[in-house]
Amino acid sequence: MKYGIMINEGPYQHQAADTAFNFVQAALDAGHEIFRIFFYHDGVNNGTRLTTPPQDDRNVITRWSKLAEDKNIDMVICVAAAQRRGIVDEGEKDRNKKDADNIAPGFRISGLGQLIEAGIQADRLLVFGD
């Protein structure tokens, strides 16, 4: 089965990103396909590489990056939501004349159409949020 996943909250503040991660892991373990993970609202904050969480806690960001690399998963951050919240890749950095970017490996920034497309292409679309 093909899944689309939408994540609406940032790391640590809400459990949504943790639950989504555990669900995605279990879906992959069961042999399913993850068509796309779409990060919206504060969910875009899952895609910053600048975090340094306590060493005795999970690292939400690097966990996503590793998953994307290991399983070749498409992880998309909504551009409009990212601009409001300061998640920037190299293209956005140049476009908006910022002096730094902060996107984590495995994430890409794109439009809301990617969410709709996930709804169309996937067999199931699940929302994790607050």
Partner: protein, 101 residues
């Protein structure tokens, strides 16, 4: 078409739980996750509502979230525990998933 309803909010804190019960049709499934797992316990102010739901719907609770909260005992009879693999299975057995946030 069958719907899997998920709820992730405490029934004492937010209206998501009550609204989900208002919308879940007979024959549908409800999965309690995150802070909604507190609704699975016996003897709370909402346990009668959960018992009523069990009469014509399937009610599940995500065991890892229950364990995390230290309340994996005294569950309402008929509430079924699932792990993440069971959560995934429920999404395959139903046609759509509605997240009550």
């Amino acid at each position: 078409m069958s719907i899997l309803h998920t709820i992730n909010k405490s029934p004492f804190e937010k209206d998501s739980f009550q609204t989900c019960l208002r919308y879940a049709k007979a024959g549908s499934s409800i999965l309690l996750i995150e802070d909604a797992v507190y609704a699975a316990r016996e003897g709370t102010d909402v346990s009668d509502a959960v018992k009523a739901a069990i009469q014509d719907k399937s009610v599940f609770v995500l065991l890892p979230d229950l364990d995390a909260r230290g309340l994996n005992s005294n569950l309402i009879n008929g509430v079924q525990s699932v792990d993440y693999a069971g959560f995934v299975k429920l999404t395959t057995e139903n046609d759509t998933v509605q997240s009550w946030l």
